[in-house]
Each structure stands twice: as C-alpha cells, then as structure tokens.
Symmetry: none
Subunit: 197 residues, 4 copies
C-alpha cells in the first residue's frame, strides 16, 4: 500500500445524486400505482420526488424513459425463462410468471409504454432495444431448445411462432377485452402441442 491509488476515472464536478435518482424512479412508480399513467407527468414526478424538473431532464429524454427504467427496477428479477426439459412445461411456467407480472401496476406501465412507443419514434427504438427484443429472443431460445429436443416440427419458423405467442399475450393486454388468465395460457399451450412433428 505504498502507492496512493487515486481513482483515475472520475469526472470533475459534483457527482450524480443516487438519492435523487432513486427518488425519481420511486415517485414515478407511486404516481402510476395511485393515479395511473396519464397522471404520471414530469411535473408530478418532480414534485413528489422533491426534485427539480431539470434533474429529470438531465438524465432522461422523456417521461416514458423514466417509466421504462422504473419498470426495469420492478421486473428485473421476475423474468425467469425456465428450462425444465419440456417445452410445454417451460411455456406454462413462463406464462404463469409473466401473467402474474402484468398485474398492476406493471401491466398499466407496460400499456403506457406501448402507447408512448406508438407516438414517439425515439422512445420506440429504446423500448424495443431494451425490452421487447431481448424478451423475444429469450422466447425464441426457449422454443429452439424444444425444437432441438424434437418437440416442434422442423419446418416451423420459430420467430413467427414467438410472434404468435407474445402477440397473443400483448393482444389481450392492449386490445382485446378478455382477461389474461391461466385458462388462456393452457389453451395456448394446447395449440402448441399440435406443432410436434
């Protein structure tokens, strides 16, 4: 320990406040839960977090970006893509978790983010990059494992099948007035059962 070992990679100036960062994400979550996505404005977040609007704009380009990070803080741990050795069981397990995860407020948050993605092309790219695409790829990987075990006919395009599976889920979440429940999951798996060679 003769050497002083100063940190060489630090930037000058006051460092970013972790406390403000966390307060912003939490305020966003709380407003969402209590008043819905429409009420989750930058002004409301700033007021509740005890933070200036400038601080929010310094680190996020839009309120949707804040919401996206707040969502990630929620759900980072609850996305276990299972690998039980059985495609059907994997899918059922995944759906069970996934549907549970859409219970409020995550479901409302996702609906808001999906809406925002339609209206703001910049956010759309970020949402796809950080949320939509990785999950789709995980599902394709899950299907690929099943295909390699011979649980899916070899001529099936796994990407399109994944679109159908995720699509059905999102369709019910965003558009169709029917619940996303366990029955839905079982019927969907029953259909996929027919895709064996």
């Amino acid at each position: 320990m003769t050497n002083l070992e100063k940190k060489p990679n630090s930037t000058p100036g006051r460092p970013r406040s972790d406390q403000s960062h966390r307060a912003i994400l939490q305020a966003a979550r709380e407003i969402l839960e209590q008043e819905g996505y429409r009420a989750m404005t930058i002004e409301a977040i700033a007021a509740r977090a005890g933070v200036s609007k400038k601080t929010i704009y310094r680190w996020w380009p839009s309120k949707a970006a804040v919401a996206l990070e707040a969502l990630a803080a929620y759900t980072d741990e609850l996305v276990p893509f299972p690998d039980t050795g059985s495609l059907e069981r994997d899918l059922l397990t995944y759906f069970e978790y996934s549907i549970a995860g859409l219970r409020s407020p995550s479901g409302d948050m996702l609906r808001g983010l999906a809406a925002e993605a339609q209206l703001d092309p910049e956010f759309e790219r970020e949402f796809q990059r950080s949320f939509i695409v990785p999950r789709k790829e995980d599902l394709v990987a899950l299907l690929k494992r099943g295909a390699q075990r011979g649980e899916l006919a070899p001529d099936i395009d796994l990407h399109v099948l994944a679109d159908m599976i995720y699509g059905a889920k999102w369709y019910r979440l965003l558009l169709y007035p029917s619940p996303l429940d366990d029955t839905f999951a079982r019927e969907l798996v029953a259909i996929i059962r027919h895709l064996k060679p």
Copy 2:
C-alpha cells in the same frame, strides 16, 4: 295538408352541416399523412377544416373518435373476409389484403388509435366495440368454417388461435421491429397447417 313529405323525425333548428363533417374527417386524414398522429390535434384539425373546435366536440368525444371514423371511411371496403373453401387459402388471402391495408397512413392511424386506447378508457371501449371485436369475430368465424371442414383439430380453442393470429400481426405492427410482409404471412400459415387433426 295533403302532402307534407317532410322528414317526420327531424328536429327543429339548423341541421348538421354535412360539409363540415366531411371537411373534419378529411383534415384529420391529411394531417395524419403529412405530419403524423402526434400533430393531429383537435386544434390542427379545426384550423385545417375551417371549422370551430366546438363543432368537432359537438359530434365526437375526442380526437381519437374522429380518427376512428376517418379510418373507417378509409378501410370500410377493404376488409373482405374470404371464403374459398380452404382455410389456408382464406388466411393467405386475408393476410394479403390486411397487410396491404396497413401501409401508411392506415397503419399509422391504427398505431395512434391503439396508443389512445391505452390512455383513454372510454375510447378503449369504443375502439374495441367498433373495430377490434368485430374483426376478431370475423376471424373466428373463418376459423370455425375451417374447423367444420376438418382442417383444424377439434380440441383447439378457436378464440385463442385467433388471438395468436391477430396478436402476431399487431405485435409486429406496434412493438417488434420486423416488417409485416408476405413471408411473415406464409410462415404463419405454415404453422397453422400443423393444426390439422
């Protein structure tokens, strides 16, 4: 008093102006095409149509409702649900038309309406009632005809299958960065081919 020949169910007062009605829908379409859904505000529609905002609010509850009617005026004729006697051919034909219909500006309009539905529960119900549900039922009817011809295994839940088909389409339209093209349609039909008994 021999022959009145007037419409007996008319209300007193100045009747609704059909010209304004049409001008509003057309203005909405034009703004959408030229500047996108975000720019399609009530103020912009009123200004372009040469109409007062009050006149718009008198007949539609929100700009999404205007957009919904403008969309209907576009697409009323292009939704032929075919009945060729073959499920695969029906689906391919339907997808061909459907994907063509999503070319701009209808696709952008639908993306905007889907966004609006996430943010405005009242409009969500109207959108489901007048757009989402009828189309889903038509697709279910199409599938049912195929099932009755023995082209689908009897244990398949046709509503869930329809969710998967429509879901895949909307998923690509709203969320996933891949094109909605003919290859996609063919691969999807190829998957459904496996669902025969």
Copy 3:
C-alpha cells in the same frame, strides 16, 4: 328609427372579458403593494387574478406592459397640470401633486417600469411614448406659458429646463438617497425664480 341598426363593428368570436382584464390589473397592483415589483411575475398575476397566463400574454407583451396599464389606471386622474397664471405657483402645485403620487405603490411601480425600460428596448419605446413624453410635453407647455408671461428669460431652452426639473425628480426617485419632499420642491422653485429676465 325604421332601420334595424345592427352594430356593424363587432368582431366575430367571444369578446374579450372585461372582468378578466380588470382582475389582471388589480392583481398586478395588489402584488406590487404587498410584495414588491420583483414578486410581480406573470405567474403570480395569473394566479391571483384567477386567469390563465395565456390570457395575459394575449393582451400584453410583457409584465411591464401590464404594470404600465395598471399604473395608468391609478394615476390617470392625478396629473393636473395647473394654470394659475404664475409659473412659481404652477410648479409648486404640480410638484405637490406629483410627489404625493410617488408615494407607494406608484413610486415603486415607476421604479420597476424605469428599470424594465433599461432592459427591454421594446418596452422602453412604449414607456416613453405613453408616459414619459406626454408628461414632459405638458411640463414644457407649462413653462412656455410662464415664458410668454415674461417669467423666464427668452434665451432659455425650455426643453432643457424641463429635463432639469423632471430629471431632478427622477434622480431622487431612482438614484440618490434623499427624500422627494416639499423642501426639495421649494428649493427647486427658488432656483427657477432666478431665471426671470
């Protein structure tokens, strides 16, 4: 009176609200009196008047313009330029009123407006046009009457003399830490007494 006599000079649209107009001017005055010119922001005026900021910006280009009109509403009646037949008496009478008029809040308002005029060239012109120049011209007219009666030497430039008289008043109001009182007025008139031929 056979003719119907419709007012031809009305503009279309909802007419300007006189109530809001008055509420804005009064709010400006009240804030000035209670909290000073610095606190008299557009936001504060709007909040206190129960008026939207847009309504203020619709009719005035800046908060200084609001203040200018509020001041006019105060002081329109208190500027009697006397004509007693004696220059000295006219000046003393005028100063008496004028100094009284500078008691708060008019004095504070004028200080704020003078400050604004230094910082905003557009407002400077308006302030000069509607306030500074007319009063100067009235004073010059007062002096001219005295000169015609032989109370001022004929070689005296009345505009420069008016600059000195008004200048002394403003200098004490804005810059020099001495009171604007009756003694000051009397000494000033005593000096002008020397300007007889």
Copy 4:
C-alpha cells in the same frame, strides 16, 4: 524543510486567483459590449471566463456588483472634475468628458446598473455608496467653488442644483428619447448662467 519562504501574512489555503478575478471582469465587459446587459448573466460570465459560478459568488454578491467593478475598471481615470476658475468652463469641460464616457459600453452598463438598483435594495445601497454619492459630492464641490467666487446667487441650494444638473443627464440617459450631446450641455450651462447674483 530548511526554508519555507511563504508569505508571512497569508491566510491558510489556496490564495485567491488574480487571473480568475481579471477574467471575470473582462468576460462581463465583453458580454456587455457584444450582447447587452440582459445577456450578461452570471452563467454567461462564468462560462466565458472559464470560471465556476461559485468563484463569482464567493467574491461578489450579485452580477450587478461584478458589473459595478467592471465599470470602475473602465472609468476610474476618466472622471476629472476640473477646476479652471470659471464655473461655466468647469461645467462645460466636465460635461464634455462625462457625455463622452457614456458612449457605449459604459452607457449601457450604467443603464443596467441603474435598473438593477431599482430591483435590488442591497445593490442600490452599494451603487449609491460607491458611484452616485461621490460623483454628486464632487459636483456639489464644483458648484461651491463657483458660489464662493460669486458665480451663483447665495440663496441657491447647491444640492438641489446638483440634482437638477445630474438629473437632466440621467433623465436623458435613462428615460427621454433625446440624445445626450454637446448642444444639450451648452443649453444647460446657458441656463445656469442665469443663476448669478
């Protein structure tokens, strides 16, 4: 450690940077000349001087105080109150210099400082103490010399006369849309000529 050679009267810690001090004053002047008083914000000064805002606030209470010192650095040398033995000549000479000194940017700076003084009582006091009052006293002294030589009637209040002289100058600088030129100076002196006993 034989020879420390530090200044004996220094305080502990890093000494004040003279370079920063000068850079701040110069930046203030440059911004004023190029963009006007409104643009001369603390942020702009700090950015142009390559100095942190904190460093400015450590040494000056407000941007007006910076401007005041920057002005002093300009004009310290150009205020010769003459003593030629003739009141008229003294006044004319003084006005000649003084009016020249108000050519930009000093005139703009003074207008900005005068504005600030209306809005910030703390700065007002400082401005009066360090700028307004000393100059007024010098002018009063100039007048007093003239009075002692018998060039002014003995009943004239020299402070009020000084108010009129300075007031006329400031009135034209701040409020009235007429130039401060040599004609003005000559006419003013012509008026004062009448004040002989």
